[in-house]
Each structure stands twice: as C-alpha cells, then as structure tokens.
C-alpha cells in the first residue's frame, strides 16, 4: 500500500500539534517517524488512522484521496494501528480479542470461532508466529500481548501497519522477534510505520526516516542519506546534552539496607531480596515493568506489608513502621503515578507542596493553617524547579505532565532526606523536565544522599546509576558497576534468571 499525508495541520485550541506536515510511505517499506515526546508524531499517525480529523491537509491511499470519519473507515481501507497503550481486553482470550469488532458471524449473530482459527493458522505459518489462542490476555507477557495486537491487524488484512513506540516495553530479545515479524510483513508487501524515539532501532530496521520536532517536519528521506548523530541533533534541535559525570568521591555509609525481603500477595511472590544503598551513590534497579518492582517499592515506602525480611534506614529497623514514621525516619518517595499517588489534583499547588512536609509548625498557627507560609514554601519549589504554573493557588490539575512531575520531585527532594526512592521519575515527561529532574537527582547524590532509582527506562538507569541491579520475576541479579554496564548483558538479565543469563554472555 502506498500512503501519503499532505500538509496535515492539527491544532488543539491554541496549541499547534502538527504544522503542515507531508510524509509518504511506499509499499513494502519500513518507515520510522522519530521525535521526542510532544513532537506530534502520535498525533500525526492518529490522523492517518482516522482517530483525529485534521484542521487542514489530505490523506491519499494508493493515489486516491480519502476522508476518514472514524477509525473504522481506515480499518476498512486496510490500515492498522498498534497503540503505545495496548487496546486489549485483559479478561478475554487471545482469539476473542483478535476477532472483536470484526467478528465473523452467522445469521443470528453467533461468532464463528472455528473459521477465525483457520484463517489465523495461515498467517501464523507465513510469518512464523506462535501463540496460544485460548490463553487469557492477562496471563501473557508484554511481548506476547503485542503479538496479539499485531494479529488483530493481520486478521483484518491490514496492508499498512502503524506501531506507536512498539519497543518501549520489550526486552531486547522480544524486540528482535518483533523486528523479525515486521521484516516478514514488509517482504509480503505490507507497509510499516514505526513511531519511536530510539535511534538504535531506527538504524536497525528502517528504510526511510522522518524527523519531527515541535509539530513540524524537520527532515524525511532514506536512512542511508542520514546518520544517527544527525537524526539526534534534528530531534533535539541543538547539541546533545552532556553526559552525566560520575562522582569523584567514594560512597559513604550504608543508608538503606534490605535483607531477605519477601513480599507475597495472592498471585505473586517477590524476593528474597537483599541490597544496600549508600550515601553519595545512585543505585539503579532496571527491569521490565511487572517483575516485582512495584511490590518492592511499596514495601519500602510502607504502602504494603512484608512477609519476611528486614529493612533498615541508617541502621534503624523500619519494616514495622507506617508511612509517616518512615518518612520521618528519613526517606522520601517519588511515585510513578503522579496523577493518583503523587498529587491530589483537586487541591492547589500550595496545598500539594505542603502535604508531605515534616515541620508542621512551619505552616500552622495553632490548629489553623498558615496560608501565607504555605504559599511561600510552594513558591520556593516552583522557582527552583522552574515549574510553569499560574500561581501557588492554582489547582494542580491545571499543570502539564512535566510540571506535575517537577512538583512531585520538588516536594520530595526539598525534604533533603538521607534516602530518596525514585520510581520512574521521568515517565511521560518532556525533555526539558527530564534534564532538570536528572540533574537534581545527581545533585542529591553529590551532596551525600542515597538515591534508589527504579526505572523501566534502561537509558535512564544507564545514565544515572553508579551501580545497577536488574529485577526479573521477583529476584535481583548480582550488581553491575556503571563502567561495566552494557545494554545486551542487562537485556539478557531482564528476561531470564541471572545464572542462566550469565552463561549466555560471552
């Protein structure tokens, strides 16, 4: 299928999300659309797929101009899209998910599952895919779930496939398998568009590359006519930020000590885990989401009770203390979910900023709140973290994602506690905010605090950590020093038990 977007323009109120962008994709071509968060790549693809109507511009499929009124039109024309957040029904089986919305039915509306199975079997053979059609989606690993999404498109005979950040949640091995499938699709004449910000992968699989920044198209053309470096510069619009310099001093006393921690719940068992975090170091725990990181963090923060083991902060046992006591003992927590756990969106910025504050006397007078004092405290955080918001008395919900995250980080780091626990601290945040938050975490480390960084973003772990641990299926690997860290080795650890993985490493 040959597709072309011509002069597409999309605005959301005063914000210009896509500014007169034109891109074309040929049959059998793998086309990468790259750019940072907020560059407009997903919006552009949503236009192509019929989820958003452009304010101006046109779509051409195989030479004919098309006007989509809904995604259904695009699907019928042979387009398919796999979104960043999977659109799957967790409690339904793989087969049910595949046929949903395109069900083969008999006269009374009953679904012909047998026919669907037959049709899929052919596709499996052609592209080398294996999956259990009767498995419940919630039981599948992330990589498998993506395969289900792709099968949905295959089932509807899609000729143009759009994948939005497909490798964000995959291990390196799963990514290889995905790329194998995509190459097979391309060989059979299908066109593929990948939205991504990972340049290594662009270089690996794309035939042509389009770079977007701030809603505009910066460049588009064959991969061989450009280079990874050049693309990176086009994405950022300037030079790359300097790499983080490692600390010259050696780390100090042990601040966080975890021994034999076991957290059991109805369906998972995490642990036994043992590790330390010392003053003046950043310990990064890498791993694909869902391998026990959430349970570990909750156990450390005091939000979940532990089954056995010890947690000690600066030498004092804290595993029996509640959240408030642990915070007083010297720990701060930057949660991953800023909407629900990090902030109370219906309260003002000042109210949120003062929420975790230890020195209650600093913002109360007797039983009453001292609002001016609260505002002053909030303004200090707003200034220091360059948070863009109307005023300290504006509602937290009015801020953008990056600013919300900066508020959460600011509130927690201002407490200057010996231990900082950061959980995916820059998830879904714009690059300026990422830089600031990373710089602040490093500043904390340099000032002698202990930082535990748990992140599913491998780049972040590699960039900031002094020591790296990998979490897989509820256990931790042996530690890897920053100097020895290499993507493939860590990727292997992310998908298999430490002992087996090490055997595979050369």
């Amino acid at each position: 299928m040959h597709a072309a977007l011509k002069d597409i323009r999309v605005t959301f109120g005063p914000l210009i999300a896509v500014d007169s962008v034109s891109i074309s994709i040929g049959a059998g071509e793998v086309h990468a659309v790259v750019g940072e968060n907020g560059a407009g790549k997903s919006t552009l693809m949503n236009v192509l797929f019929g989820l958003i109507r452009p304010d101006a511009g046109s779509i051409e499929i195989d030479g004919k101009q098309r006007n989509w009124t809904s995604a259904q039109d695009a699907i019928r024309a042979g387009l398919g899209m796999v979104h960043q957040h999977f659109m799957l029904q967790e409690q339904m089986t793989v087969l049910e998910n595949i046929v949903l919305c395109g069900e083969p039915v008999n006269r009374f509306g009953f679904v012909d599952f047998k026919g669907a199975r037959k049709k899929l079997a052919e596709g499996f053979k052609e592209h080398g895919i294996t999956i259990d059609l009767d498995a419940t989606v919630s039981d599948l690993a992330v990589g498998q779930r993506q395969v289900v999404e792709i099968l949905k498109m295959l089932y509807r005979d899609a000729r143009l496939l759009i994948l939005d950040e497909p490798t964000a949640v995959l291990t390196p091995q799963e990514k290889d398998r995905l790329f194998g499938i995509l190459r097979s699709f391309a060989r059979s004449g299908r066109s593929i568009i990948i939205i991504t910000h990972k340049l290594d992968e662009v270089v690996e699989i794309a035939d042509r590359v389009s770079v977007m920044r701030g809603g505009k198209l910066i460049s588009t053309g064959p991969l061989k006519d450009t280079s990874k470096d050049r693309i990176a510069r086009e994405i950022i619009g300037g030079d790359l930020p300097p790499p983080i310099k490692p600390l010259a001093r050696a780390p100090g006393e042990t601040v966080l000590s975890v021994k034999g921690l076991v957290v059991k719940s109805r369906d998972t068992s995490v642990g036994p885990l043992s590790f330390d975090v010392r003053a003046g170091e950043i310990v990064g725990i890498a791993g694909v989401s869902g391998n026990g990181q959430a349970e570990l963090i909750q156990a450390l923060a005091g939000l979940r009770s532990i089954t056995s083991g010890e947690i000690a902060l600066s030498g004092n046992r804290i595993d029996r203390l509640d959240v408030a006591a642990r915070r007083r003992a010297g720990q701060s927590y930057i949660p991953e979910d800023r909407q629900r756990v990090g902030l109370a969106l219906g309260a003002t910025v000042a109210e949120n900023a003062n929420a975790g504050r230890d020195d209650v006397s600093g913002f109360v007078r007797g039983p009453f709140l001292n609002r001016p004092a609260m505002a002053r405290y909030a303004r200090a955080i707003i200034d220091r973290y360059r948070i863009k918001v109307g005023s300290a008395s504006a509602l937290a919900s009015t801020m953008s994602g990056g600013n919300k995250q900066k508020l959460v980080v600011g509130r927690e780091l201002t407490r200057e506690t010996p231990l900082v626990i950061a959980e995916n601290p820059t998830w879904g945040v714009d690059i300026g905010a990422i830089e600031l938050i990373h710089a602040e975490l490093v500043r904390m480390r340099d000032a002698g605090h202990a930082v535990l960084l748990v992140s599913t973003e491998l780049d972040e772990i590699l960039r900031l950590s002094d020591r790296i641990l990998v979490m897989y299926s509820g256990s931790l690997s042996d530690e890897i020093a920053a100097a020895d860290a290499d993507r493939n080795r860590i990727g292997a650890l992310m998908t298999s038990r430490a002992d087996a993985a090490l055997r595979n490493v050369a």
Partner: protein, 302 residues
C-alpha cells in the same frame, strides 16, 4: 414448630421460586449492565415501574400476557431514559440511578391516582394474573414436584435466561462487545465500534428484565399493585450483581439464597415474631452474606 420443620416443609419449598424470580430476573438485567460497564443501581425503580405497568396492561386488556409485555416495555423505557441521561448527556450513573428510583416511585404513585383514582393500592378482580404452568408428570414427584411445576411462567423464563445469558456472553457478537465495553471501551472505539451504543442496548435489556421482575410481583405473586411494591428487592438484586460480578451461574445461586430467605421471612411471620423483625430479615441476610463474602475476598487478596 422448629426452624427445621419450616424448612423441610414441602409447601415452603414450593413457595421459594415465587420469591427467587423477581430477584433473579432483576439481577440478570443488572448483570448485563455490570458486564457492559454501566453502573446501574436503579434496578429498584425499574422493577417498580414494571410492577405498575404490568397491572395497567393486565387490567385494561384483561390479558396477563399483555401485562407482562407492558412491564417489559415500560422497564425498557426506563432503561432508555437511563441511557439518554447517562450515556448521551454524560450524567453520572449514580445520580441517574437515584433519579430513576425516585422517578419510578413518584410516577407509579402519581399514575395510581391519575389512572385508577385510588391511593395506596389498586386491587381489582379485573387484573388478569399470570397462570401458573403445570408440567404433567413432574407435578407428581413428591416434595419437589410442586417446586418445579406449578410456578409462574416468568420463573421458567428466568431459569432459561441464566443459561442463555451464559451462552450469550461467550459466543454472541453482542455479548462479546458488551464484555469489551465493560472492560476496555477505548479498545472498542479503536476498533471502530462505539461502546456507547453497546451500553445503550445493555440498558434496554436490563430495563426489560427488571420490568418483568416487577410483573412477577404484581401479576403473579399477587394480583394487585401497592405503593413501593418492589420493597427493596431491587437493592438485593444490586448486591447479588455486585457479589458475582455479573456472572450468570453464580448469580443464580445467590438469587436462590436471597429468594429463600425472603420466602422464609414471609413464612416466619406466622410464628409470633413481630412484623418488623420479619421485614428486616431479607436485608439482614443480604448484609450478612455481603459481609461474609467481602471478608473472605479480602483475606484471599492479602
């Protein structure tokens, strides 16, 4: 007369289906909404509406079938009203549910006065009742013969619907889409199907079933309409749906349990306990079962 004598009394067992039917039908309707992701706690109001219009239909046409049909249609209309204000206009489903309950209470009493010119209750021999269905050979089986045979046609319909709904969710296109709408409506939209339409149909089905539940009360169990006739059974159905998360077979057993308690409380009235205590029994039983099951669920998750 000990409690055991009461329980193993054949005529008590034969009376249980009468009490199970309204709860089961309403709960099945609620289950469809639950699976579709519509938080509908207006079952009480929909049931009451059905009870009233069943009498209206049965009285004016002298046919119980028309009465049942009127109940079904009026219930579905309540479902349509719910859909209009919740799905199309975006009103919160709890607010709309409360409004539906109040609307049903007000409308039924208002029309009681407007149409029949009475207050409190309408009782007239011209109200055609649903004839019990007698199954020839089954009837002669000792003890359970009269439990299975001689019941309202709506009872047999309810039993059939338990199985039908199970198959519907598993193998019918609409059933699949209802499940999808309840779990991940965004995925349906991405697939080109509007989940709001699916939910609207679910509401119509729910309303219809609740209407029939009401018909069981007013033209089968008795042949009259009393103000607020549904008397909390819609709420018991809500609890049943909540406990079983809308799955047809567990729903059947819970409805059976609640219906048996309802029937028992009716029976026990004759034994000397003050009426207030017997009136309280179904709610207490529901609360106890709810507490026990919630407690058990909480322990399992820890």
């Amino acid at each position: 007369m000990t409690v055991l004598d009461l329980l193993f009394d054949a005529s008590f067992l034969a009376s249980v289906p009468r009490f199970v039917t309204p709860i089961l039908l309403a709960a099945l309707g609620g289950a469809i909404c639950e699976r579709a992701g519509v938080f509908n706690i207006g079952l009480e109001g929909m049931m009451l509406t059905g009870a009233f219009f069943a009498v209206v239909g049965a009285y004016f046409s002298s046919s119980a079938f028309v009465g049942a049909l009127a109940a079904l249609v009026s219930g579905a209309l309540m479902g349509a009203i719910f859909a209009e204000f919740n799905l199309r206009r975006g009103g919160d489903s709890i607010v709309v549910s409360i409004a539906i309950n109040l609307l049903a209470a007000g409308l039924s009493t208002f029309l009681l006065g407007a149409i029949f010119h009475v207050a409190g209750a309408f009782n007239d021999p011209a109200i055609a009742g649903l004839e019990p269905v007698h199954i020839p050979l089954v009837e002669d089986i000792p003890v359970i013969g009269h439990v299975i045979s001689g019941q309202s046609p709506l009872f047999y319909l309810a039993l059939l619907l338990v199985y039908a709904l199970h198959v519907f969710f598993a193998r019918h296109r609409l059933g699949l889409r209802i499940r999808a709408a309840g779990e991940n409506p965004a995925a349906l939209t991405a697939g080109g199907v509007n989940p709001l339409w699916v939910q609207a149909i679910a509401l119509l089905m729910c309303g219809a079933l609740c209407g029939l539940a009401g018909a069981q009360l007013s033209i089968s169990n008795v042949n009259l309409f009393v103000e607020n006739m549904s008397a909390g059974r819609g709420w018991i159905a809500v609890v049943a749906v909540l406990l079983t998360r809308g799955r047809p077979w567990p729903l059947f057993f819970i409805a059976l349990l609640f219906g048996a308690v309802d029937s028992l409380s009716f029976r026990v009235q004759g034994v000397g306990l003050p009426q207030q205590f017997t009136d309280m029994m179904p709610y207490l039983a529901t609360l106890i079962v709810l507490t026990a099951l919630s407690w058990w669920r909480m322990r399992r998750q820890a």
